[in-house]
Structures are given as structure tokens and as C-alpha cells.
């Protein structure tokens, strides 16, 4: 139990230090998960495939926040804004300029990276609560900005845009939902591998040094300003790709789909999954997609209260999120192997 106790004991920091290896899953476990993700859709209904697609998409968005918060120790309530920008860029490019859907994603990613990087610049001076407020301002402004009149010829104003769902290419005999699922899965895997490697790289170590002690990091020669904005940009870029995928999957974008509620959900997903533990992002995404539905089915009138109680249960039982379960599980397996 020593590692778990250590994790609990050092809980005073906003984001506690995580050993590098503990940020990911082992190779064996990862392979099993990937195989499961590949096989399961073959045996399920279209609606469940759609939900799994959404799970991957939200998982990506939570992952992006996790890189920012768990990696570099900065906090953002503005992820919904980047998600919205990504979604709108993809939708507008597909519908107004007839760009192929797969090509719109990198464009969304790069543009969101730019927006995030630029936003990160002035936000650098702020930290903690103040940064939260600044990003929050961005999130509340975004739906209003999308409704602005002079953008209406592209964005469709309050009504939003309908996006056509792509068909499977190469004459594959596959439903649109299933093709989109595999497409999303491929993008997700690529970004996941990128993120894992990013956190293991020189830049990742710089992020974590800033998270653990900014002053010490700068004393060791880490360019704090550059890496903080870089973390913001990368996080925004990934969120943008997730937003683009989300627009294609839901087939609709409208300003009011991207309110502050979305940003709060993504934040909850990160906490439930475990801050700083990348695979947890997908557990957290499952929580924010399915638990509101479960709450609704338990009691219609009190769905908010049921959701709140379930959330409290989770944070009481595992204050460090799914990561805590994973650590305890790992130790159990380790013990079993020894005996």
C-alpha cells in the first residue's frame, strides 16, 4: 500500500507530483484495451457505437486538459471555447468550402493551437484562481462571439450549421457510424501516443518541472514563459481536433452547444479520471457521458441531485480518481504474482 499512501499523503499541492511511469498504462494492458476497442463495435448496435465515438471524442478533450493541468500545472475553464472553435472550423470548412472532413481536423488543430498559444501569452501573468477566471471569461464569451452578425454568413448564426456525415471510403461495407468510430479511434490513438511521448520528452519534463516548482524550474534553465504557452497551445490544439470530430459525429454545430457547462464537464472528467493520469481521461469521459443519463433514469425530477451525490461518492471513495484504483489494482496483481 506504500505508493497509494504516498499519493494520499502529499495531497496538499493543487496537482501532486506523479512519477513519469505512472502517467500511462503498461504495454500489455494498453494492447488489451486497444483490441477491445477494435472488436466491440462489430457486435453492437449503431447507437452504442455512436456513444463510444463520443466517449473517445470527450476523452480526447479531457486528455487535452490533463496535459495542461496534470502536465504543466495550469488550470483552464475555457476548454469549451477551443472545442467550439475546432468544431466550427471543421463544420465551416466542410459545409461552405467543401473540404474533405479528414483534412479539416489538422486545420482545426493547428488553428486552435495558434489561438491557445496567443491566449496563453497574456494569461501567463496570471495563475491559479486568476487564470481560471480569464479562461472562464473566454468560455462565456465564445457562444456570444459565434453569434456575431458579421460571421453569420459562415457560421449560420444562432441556428448553427448542419454537417453531413461522411461515408466509409474505398467502398467498404460499413455503416457511417462504424466508419466514423474507427476513424475517431485512429485519430485518438495517434493523439494518445503523441501525448504520452510528449510528456516523456524534454518538453514534457519541462512542463512537469514547472508544475512542481516554477522557481526551481526557471533556475534550472527552463524557459517558463515558452513552455507554459506551449502547454496551452498544445492543449488547445488537441481540444480543437476533438471539437472537429465532435462536430462530424453529432452532425450539427450551434453556439449554445459550447457553453461553460461543457468546460465544467470536461473538468469533472479530468478529476474523476485522475489528474495527471492520461488513460484516466477516458474513464472520466465515460463518467461525464453516462452518469447524467444514469442519474436521469434513477429520478427525473432529482437528476441533478443524483448526479451530485454520485460525484460526491466518487470523490469520497477515490479522491485521486481512477488513477488511485489503477495503482491499488497494480499492487494487488503484484502481490498475487509474488505469492
Amino acid at each position: 500500500m506504500s505508493a497509494a499512501e504516498e499519493v494520499v499523503a502529499e495531497g496538499h499541492e493543487a496537482v501532486e507530483a506523479v512519477p513519469k511511469r505512472a502517467m500511462t498504462l503498461g504495454t500489455g494492458t494498453s494492447l488489451v484495451v486497444v483490441v477491445l476497442l477494435l472488436i466491440v463495435p462489430l457486435f453492437t448496435k449503431n447507437f452504442i457505437i455512436f456513444q463510444m465515438t463520443m466517449l473517445l471524442i470527450y476523452g480526447l478533450a479531457v486528455l487535452a486538459l490533463n496535459i495542461l493541468t496534470g502536465g504543466s500545472g495550469q488550470f483552464s475553464l475555457g476548454q469549451s471555447a477551443f472545442y467550439a472553435i475546432g468544431a466550427y472550423i471543421s463544420a465551416v470548412l466542410m459545409e461552405q468550402f467543401n473540404v474533405n472532413y479528414a483534412l479539416t481536423l489538422p486545420i482545426s488543430g493547428v488553428l486552435c493551437f495558434g489561438v491557445g498559444f496567443l491566449f496563453g501569452k497574456p494569461a501567463l501573468r496570471l495563475s491559479g484562481v486568476y487564470l481560471a477566471l480569464a479562461t472562464f471569461a473566454l468560455a462565456t464569451a465564445m457562444p456570444q462571439l459565434l453569434k456575431l452578425n458579421f460571421l453569420e454568413q459562415w457560421t449560420g448564426g444562432v441556428q448553427g450549421l448542419v454537417v453531413t456525415k461522411p461515408d466509409a471510403p474505398f467502398g467498404l461495407k460499413m455503416s457511417q457510424d462504424m466508419w466514423l468510430y474507427y476513424f475517431t479511434l485512429a485519430v485518438t490513438l495517434a493523439i494518445y501516443i503523441f501525448s504520452v511521448n510528449l510528456l516523456r520528452s524534454r518538453s514534457g519534463r519541462a512542463f512537469m518541472a514547472i508544475r512542481d516548482n516554477e522557481i526551481a524550474a526557471s533556475a534550472m534553465g527552463v524557459d517558463v514563459a515558452l513552455y507554459k504557452t506551449l502547454a496551452f497551445g498544445i492543449s488547445a490544439g488537441i481540444t480543437g481536433v476533438a471539437g472537429g470530430l465532435g462536430a462530424i459525429a453529432v452532425q450539427f454545430v450551434a453556439p449554445d452547444s459550447y457553453t461553460i457547462t461543457l468546460a465544467i464537464s470536461l473538468f469533472l472528467g479530468m478529476v474523476v479520471g485522475g489528474v495527471g493520469w492520461l488513460p484516466g481521461s477516458f474513464v472520466g469521459a465515460a463518467f461525464i457521458i453516462f452518469v447524467p443519463n444514469i442519474a436521469e433514469s434513477i429520478s427525473k425530477g432529482l437528476s441533478g441531485a443524483v448526479f451530485g451525490v454520485l460525484l460526491f461518492l466518487v470523490i469520497f471513495l477515490v479522491p485521486h480518481g481512477a488513477r488511485q484504483i489503477a495503482i491499488v489494482g497494480q499492487q494487488l496483481i503484484g502481490k498475487l504474482r509474488k505469492t
Partner: protein, 292 residues
Amino acid sequence: MELFTNQILAGIATGAIYACMALAVVMIYQAIDHLNFAQGEMAMFATFISWQLMQWGVPYWGAFVITLVLSFLGGIAIERILFKPLAKAPILTNVAGFIALFAIINSCAGLIWDFTIKQYPTPFGSAPFLGSQLISTHQAGMIGVTLLLLIGLFFFFQYTRIGLAMRAAAALPESARLVGINTSWMIALGWGMASAIGAIAGMLIAPVVFLEPNMMGGVLIYGFAAAVLGGLTSPFGAVIGGFLMGIFENLAGTYIPGVGNELKLPIALALIISVLVVKPAGLFGRHIVKRV
């Protein structure tokens, strides 16, 4: 020029609402070092309790006092039951707890009192104040109560033993414990006081925005922003921040073309952020220097 002064007056009137809420926000921030996202909902619930009491025939001031006592106890109960066990958990987990509390209170209030808008009485009347069409006696009363509250808090923190103990517990918990202060109960006391101040804010705001479970959503955001603008360490700053917030918002709505009701908030927030970039601790906040 007359338009300008009128807009400032109207801004001060709305600012009083934000100032009240900001005061509650700063209270809890002093005690626990976090922003409580459920603060507005706690205030809303307290306001509903007072409304219910009045429906049962309790006179206004009776209901007012009973509600204050109940919300004080309620605040302490929430801290003891829900947040004391989380004291050692990471800060972000605590924030998730606030969001959960928000959802629970909002949904319960909706179930008990439903979502229809209710009238809420004011003890000050709603006639024009001193012949001005822009400020009603209620709004003037609200400003008065906010200022009284501020003075009361100032004396409490500055001149009473328990106020001093609370400040010590918030500033340096370890040292405070060493000199015999029960820091854990000081936090609970902070919750209770914040909850009671929130209840006062709720009862003063309700006649203006009408009573319904979502009434505090917008107000709380402005309250947070006001508290941050004034400096989270200073109750005085929070009140000034609240008034400035109201004035900003009104002036932006009047003078910047193309700003409708919906863009007021982002613009006010953007302005605050530009203030923060220049003065990171807020207008009246103390800059906390970290030892390396």
C-alpha cells in the same frame, strides 16, 4: 453628461448586488482558501427558506433572523459532513465537490419549490429614492446593508479575539495550531459566516431578480469577478469591486456600440483581466510573497 451620471448611478445600484455576493465569496476564501462555486446556490436555498417561512405567516424580520441562524448552522453542517473529510484531498477534487454541491442544491430547490418565478417582498419599499428614478429605496437599502455588513465584518476581524483567531488560522494554520487555536472549527465557522452573509445577499437580491432556483447563476459570476477585481484577501476591496463591476457593465452596455445584454459580461470580464495583468493581486489585495 446626464446620461453618464445616470448610468453610473444605475451601475452603483446593480453593483450593490454584486458587492453583497462578493463579500460572501471573500469570506469563504479567507476561511478555506478556495472559491466556493456552490455559494450562490446556498444563498438561493436560504432565500427560499425565508420565503417559505413568510408563506407560513412569519413576519419579514422574523423570517430574516430565522433564516440567518439556519444558514449559519447549515454552512457549518455542510463543512463538517462533506468538506472536512476532503480537507486532505487535492484542491481540484474539492472544486469538483463544490460543483456536486451546486447540482444537489439546485435540483433539490427545483423539486421542493419548482421552477416558477416568485415575487419576493422588500422591507425598504420600492419607491424612487430621494426623487431619483434610477435608484429605488430598496436599492438604497441594499447599499446601506452592504456597507453595514462591511463595517461589522471589519470590526469582527480587527477587534475580536475570535476574528483574530480566524485570520490566524487562515494565514498560517500550523503556527495557529501551536498557539492553541482550533483551526478546524475556525474553518467551519468561516463556512457558517459565509453562508449567513450569502443568505443576506440572497434575500436582498431576490426582490430585484425574482425568486427561482437559477436566480443566482449570473449574480455569482459577477460576485466572483468583483471579488477577484477587488482582491480576494480584502472584504473592502470586494465591495468596491462589486460597485465597479456594476458601473463597468452599465457603461459598456451604453457606450460601446454593438454590445447587447449578452456581450456585457465578457466585456466586463475582459476589463477585469486587463486590470489583473497590471495588478495581479487585485486592486486592494495584499500581494502574497512566497518563500522559496
